[in-house]
Amino acid sequence: MENFEYFEPKTLKEAVHLLVKYKQGARLLAGGTDLMNEMKGGYVKPKCLINLKKIKGLDKISYSKKEGLSIGSLVTWTNILSSKPIYQYFPILREAASLIGCPQIRNVGTIGGNICHASPSADSAPALMIYEAQCVIAGPGRERIIPIEEIFAGVQKISLKKGEILTRFRLPTPDTGSKGCYLKFSPRRAMDLPIVGVAVLVRTSDGTFQDVKITLGAVAPTPIRARRAESFLCGKPVNDESIRKAAGEAVMESKPITDVRASRDYRLGLVNELTYRAITLSISKNFTLE
């Protein structure tokens, strides 16, 4: 690993200033679980590291019914797991967090760091997308807010501009009656990225699907909403046939690759199966996520 200059700015303004000053040579340090390995492997050779953890306010979680949830980008997975509002109102996010890595990773890994690493397989992304999270971004100019889908620009690429820092996520409170889950398929029960990850949030009424959201991870260069499957299922009767067909639509929208973890065909098969299961599970009468 090459050496670098190191800064611990106390304010966002300071951090932005350093980012602008060092341009491509600067990297932001959150939990470091991804960044440290990138540096050790020589994939990334920053001239300076800007540690965000001394800036107040970036690690806060707050909730109100009206405003929804605000999660600072430096909130760790461990803190997400112990948050009451997330437990109560955003159980899919909690579920995804519980499946990430292991305790050592969850203790230091952050939600912002995970999203900005922009792995197509990141567990957090389908969950944040299903809740239609918005990213709040500070930078040299005005603060801007973008839907989470727009932050992903490709495999391990994000759309932040020069000097910008993701500061928090805003998640509106889901509609009453919405139920969902996150299904992750991986060879092991810890330490693995998903081969395929599916998050689903649905609301039904009078035997029909009223509102359907489906997000897929690890099947495209970025996490995606399966919008065709969603619009197919919306308004359809709640039965096995509709759900099977919707799963088929989700398969059509997926563009997975073959890599050391799985083949393309298998991933498509898993999209089909997991989408079907996720929806079926979510609508089952006594289903709640723990």
Binding site: M1, E2, N3, F4, E5, Y6, L29, G32, T33, M36, N37, M39, K40, L49, N51, K53, T78, G101, C102, P103, Q104, I105, N107, V108, R189, A190, M191
Partner: protein, 163 residues
């Protein structure tokens, strides 16, 4: 400036060091402080052998920068026992066959400590989750889980039986 001055409290003792910014907490522990109980197995945060407690939380010290540990309290395996007296977790590991080659043991014990400090009455599943980031090639984990559950009982005062 590619060096920084840091102050870290390791096993109850403050250390002032000047370190290259890129130096990891693991390297400081093993090289600067000569505490070789904490092991380097993968050096990429994927195995848990370098687990230490940082302000009470289990972390992989190989992916924590020493500068990022500035001002923090670090617990390594060496602090758990006193001369002639083991911590109950260590005693149970010894008694219940949870140690074979021993390379993963320090990290495993500290993950167990982190769990039991937070949750004195864990289920078997919670124990397995707590050590899910600690890799062992020798034991198959069976005895390790048993040892942690026994240690939990002892620490709760429910079982004073020494094996």
């Amino acid at each position: 400036m590619k060096k920084s001055q840091i102050k870290i409290k390791v096993n109850g003792e403050w250390h002032e060091l000047t370190v290259p910014n890129k130096k990891t907490l693991l390297e400081v522990i093993r090289e600067d402080l000569n505490l070789t109980g904490t092991k380097k197995l993968c050096n990429t945060g994927e195995c848990g052998s370098c687990t230490v407690l940082m302000d009470g939380m289990a972390v992989n010290s190989c992916i924590v920068l020493a500068v990022d540990a500035n001002g923090k309290e670090i617990t390594t395996i060496e602090s758990l026992s006193q001369i002639g007296k083991l911590h109950p977790i260590q005693e149970e590991f010894v008694a219940r066959g949870a140690i074979q080659c021993g390379f993963c043991t320090p990290g495993m014990i500290l993950s167990a400590k982190a769990l039991l400090d937070q949750n004195p009455n864990p289920t078997e599943l919670e124990v397995k989750k707590a050590i899910s980031g600690n890799f062992c090639r020798c034991t198959g984990y069976v005895r390790i889980v048993n040892a942690i559950l026994s240690a939990a009982e002892r620490l709760r005062g429910e079982n004073d039986e020494r094996i």
